[in-house]
């Protein structure tokens, strides 16, 4: 599976762009609260599928782009996504070995850790979360993980990203 040279980098870039876009488009009413962190999910997918290419540095860079794009604190999402990429890199062998429905629980744990990190940092700079709703996107992410996994897997196979 590992090739001598990397191929299909543009597919990865496009998938991240789509994830950025999906996290910005307006959603009707209450669904907004459950909007999953698409960027983190795409990062987890590529971190599992191509651990030799998508690692902690990529996670950090993507997170920094998120920080710039959302006008937040520089480094907040960068740190959170670097941690997610690290955890993915250390556990991808186990996550890959289990059926899809069991994967969703590992993904839930990763997404919850990401949310908690982001809100710890927000709390430090004076915006403590006021209720438990901030964990809702992790649940949305868990529910949509099988869909994202299947789509990205087929895309990866079709374009032979390696």
């Amino acid at each position: 599976m590992t090739r001598a040279y990397p191929t299909g980098g543009w597919v990865i870039v496009v998938s991240f762009l789509l994830a950025f876009w999906l996290s910005e488009i307006p959603l009707p009413g209450g669904l907004d609260r459950f909007r999953p962190d698409w960027v983190a999910m795409v990062l987890i997918y590529w971190g599992m599928a191509l651990p030799h290419r998508i690692g902690i540095g990529v996670g950090w860079g993507v997170g920094l782009l998120l920080d710039v794009g959302r006008g937040g604190l520089l480094g907040q999402h960068a740190l959170a996504l670097a941690v997610v990429a690290y955890l993915t890199a250390q556990t991808y062998r186990r996550i890959r070995a289990v059926p899809l429905w069991q994967q969703t629980f590992s993904v839930l744990v990763l997404l919850v850790i990401e949310r908690i990190l982001i809100f710890w940092i927000s709390g430090v700079i004076g915006y403590p979360p006021q209720d438990w709703w901030y964990l809702a996107p992790a649940i949305g992410g868990m529910v949509l993980w099988p869909l994202l996994f299947v789509v990205l897997r087929d895309v990866r196979r079709y374009f032979q990203v390696g």
Binding site: R33, G71, L74, G75, L79, Y86, R93, I121, I125, Q130
Partner: protein, 298 residues
């Protein structure tokens, strides 16, 4: 003994990458350093400028579907719908013109009266329209990103309003984009006045889009549900007299010297699409005016 030893396959599953820890340490330390510098010293504004400018085309690309949708709706709108809308707008314009005439007369009168009282009138000269690019994802931090920046003459502290009332103010102006904080952000406080009685207080953000809190209003002050709040012009950031919201609840807690007052913002903060930026120069207080105050004080 051999049976207790994990098989190669199992060991493979639990293999760790020793350099990953090192990488995480490095990137993590870099993030923490960046956040500290950004938050405490605002020293990364140059870096942010560069990154924000680089990200601008990307942002336009991401907005393409929305832009395309707007364009298509306009392009393919039915003639009858357009005509109807046109008629409505014309009617509205006539109505507004009539009101404007009254307003011009009032304004002239107001200016005359004010000149009698020797107080300065500040009417904002220029209004700039900006579009919303993004909303901060942190649900407790009400920041929005606008598609105008320093290049278009925006500056930090500039008041942002919409057709219903005050929205917030600019807190960061990048070259092509800028960030505004909404009045409902938990860290925002806006000097206001109750229009009916002139009672002055602050409107504190609560982190909820529908709620402002008015602290330090004594029990015996005259505040009623439905009172309109306007900017008081104190603090020099906002011009006077722009609508902020209406009082929705007044509760008296016998244990506290102040009433618990909640207001609802006039602007529809959850549905912002376009905003107006006022070019407002705060009144400069002449030193002798301050002296006069000091003399009059007992």
């Amino acid at each position: 003994m051999a049976a207790l030893k994990p098989s190669r396959r199992i060991r493979h599953l639990f293999a760790v990458n020793p350099t990953a820890v090192l990488q995480l340490g490095l990137w993590g330390a870099l993030s923490i350093a960046m956040m500290t510098v950004d938050h405490r010293y605002h020293a990364l504004d140059g870096v942010r400028d560069v990154l924000a400018t680089a990200a601008y085309p990307l942002r336009l690309l991401m907005r393409l579907p929305i832009t395309a949708e707007n364009w298509l709706t306009e392009k393919w709108a039915r003639r009858s719908v357009l005509l109807e809308e046109n008629a409505q707008l014309r009617e509205k314009q006539i109505f507004l013109n009539v009101q404007l005439q009254k307003l011009i007369a009032l304004e002239a009168e107001n200016r005359r009266l004010r000149s009698l009282l020797e107080s300065a009138v500040n009417t904002p000269e220029r209004v700039l329209i900006a579009e919303l690019l993004a909303v901060d994802f942190d649900p407790y931090r009400h920041h929005i990103l606008l598609n105008r920046g320093r290049q278009h003459g925006l500056y930090v502290g500039q008041p942002v309003i919409d057709q219903h009332g005050v929205i917030g103010q600019i807190i960061r102006a990048d070259p092509l984009t800028s960030t505004a904080i909404l009045i409902t952000d938990a860290k925002h406080a806006l000097p206001i006045q109750i229009n009916r009685t002139g009672v002055r207080t602050l409107a504190l953000g609560t982190g909820k889009f529908q709620e402002l809190e008015l602290p330090h209003v004594a029990h015996d002050e005259d505040v009623k549900v439905g009172d309109v709040l306007v900017t008081s012009g104190m603090g020099g950031r906002f011009p006077r007299g722009y609508p902020v919201g209406t009082v929705t609840a007044v509760e008296f807690d016998p244990g506290s010297p102040f009433a618990h007052i909640i207001a609802k913002p006039a602007a529809q903060l959850e549905r912002i699409r376009e905003v107006m930026l006022l070019d407002y120069e705060p009144p400069i207080i002449a030193p002798d005016a301050l002296d006069a105050l000091a003399i009059r004080a007992p």
